[in-house]
Subunit: 369 residues, 2 copies
Amino acid sequence: MTGIRRAALIASALALTLVLPALAQETPSDFARLEATQNAANAKPGPRTVPGRAIPVPPTASAELQAIIAAPYRVPNWNADPKSPAEWKELIGRLAAIGATNQKGVREKLGVTLETSTIAGVTVYTLTPKDIPPANLNRLLFHVHGGGYVYNPGEAGTGEATAMAAYGGFKVISIDYRMPPDFPYPAAMDDVMAVWKEVVKMHDPRSMAIFGSSTGGGMTLAMILRARQEGLPLPAAIAPGTPWSDLTETGDTYKTNEWVDNVLVSWHGYLGRAAALYANGHDLKDPQLSPIYGDFSGFPPTILTSGTRDLFLSLTVLTHRKLRRAGVEASLQVFEGASHAQYYIDPFTPESKEAFGEIASFFDKHLGK
Amino acid sequence: MTGIRRAALIASALALTLVLPALAQETPSDFARLEATQNAANAKPGPRTVPGRAIPVPPTASAELQAIIAAPYRVPNWNADPKSPAEWKELIGRLAAIGATNQKGVREKLGVTLETSTIAGVTVYTLTPKDIPPANLNRLLFHVHGGGYVYNPGEAGTGEATAMAAYGGFKVISIDYRMPPDFPYPAAMDDVMAVWKEVVKMHDPRSMAIFGSSTGGGMTLAMILRARQEGLPLPAAIAPGTPWSDLTETGDTYKTNEWVDNVLVSWHGYLGRAAALYANGHDLKDPQLSPIYGDFSGFPPTILTSGTRDLFLSLTVLTHRKLRRAGVEASLQVFEGASHAQYYIDPFTPESKEAFGEIASFFDKHLGK
């Protein structure tokens, strides 16, 4: 970095520190000054110049979600930079232990039980709610957890499955697929496909749906591509939430929501590193890694979920549009103020209940009984 | 403004000028520095601190839309600040003359004809496409134009109606309702309701839909509330695009997309002034001015459209969620990189054709023949 650029960055940091309280309580004449600066900076076609700002917590989200929106950046998750497989495993294990403990509490509060079994050699958790309505007795949901292909092994990955079981009244199986650093692509996809292949022998796939958010959303889409390719039956519906449907740095909200999303924060955090670790040299644009490059025609009815502050809002809407252009019934829900996956990270917000309620009613419409 | 705040703003403007080229070609060590600054600035719960940035034009939009995304801020529209009714009228008239000329060219390109008539004393334009498919012969669409209750009188307001006629193959009537400064609330609503009351005597409302974007979207929602209240028939479907459903400064994307949206740019431009001019002392939260405060139960099936850079993305998703919570069939489409109403401002982008195609197929599903 040159001396000038270093000086500029320091000046910027100082200026931000000084100016933000002023902007927060801006007067008309402050605004006029900013307006003039901004009009001048954006007077020619090209990239958009945007000033540093303090963005308030929106009162339009529920009080519960407001607390989550107000939270600091998710350190160390978002910017993890382990230097070796051992360091990755230490971090992953430490976070997963916390996650597993949290999930135990969540299950107790929501009246959901967890059983562990093995299908096709893969660990599978079955989440069962206290009450299953008659319409759902023969239905089974297949959950693929998120976590950037590195986080959430074991019970830490079952949160979304628990919420879906509780709020939708479904029996859910959640797949503990293998992950890097020990098992890069295609281990994760091989595991979920092996389980799918077994499960559809026992359950009518027309009474099943596949769902999962973030990495789990990308894998859900990749599963449909691969099932179609391998001549396996498809589920009656899918719910890829805020799907990591493209492992390359693609999508406008990677820039517009950079530093705004407090979960993923920036592509230049762990995301890019996790993508490389998972791909392990494979082409990132292979539709099995980045399903948005695949052919979506013939996909089952799909419901997608995101938030206005989500770094993956673009991935979600690009996936939605591509599904629609392929003639697929595809529904989109976007939650006010929510960063990446914040519609389910805390299952106790009204927005989480609403998001899972929408998915449940979409499944109810499309799944056989 | 205190001397310290003035100095801070000047320092900020200087720093932005210096730092943006550096950010645009950032190196890993630049990022590490920014990461540390940002983590520190967001280490405690509260508002989100976001740095100044240059946001590139997203290659994920079509080439045609990219040119529109790259455009400078829409001056003088976004920050107009007329000091008198005469100044308002001069600006409105000047922009409307340009708009009317543009629309003539658009109609010629799209093979749509315009006829002018009067219904219930209100000027109404009828837009007729070259070909009307048999299924649409007895269908009629009712268009309410946008423009912040001040812009787009006369033929300038017919662009969206023309695109819908051309891409959907529908006959469309577009209402030239009265506006401020001469005619504040409730003149605009009185006019569209007077026309609606007459039109439903001649056409079966079950074969009709109401649509319009921005102010036209807000008015579409307010029309349903008022029609229900007055015991008038409702249309079979509505398409409020990026609706100005709340005239107060409400919604997270007013902040997250401030200075990002190149159409509306900021609430503190003309928007707030137009809201005050229209309301003319009425409560901005009256559901006839801000329909989001109304009861949406029993609304017709609704399709909403917005973009990821839209200052009204929050208004759109808040309206969508409220409709869904009221049990209304409501569909949401969001376009990558699009600022406010950019899915229709230029009818020749692939995104515009796609947006109107979606609305047309939604109408086809819900309108009687």
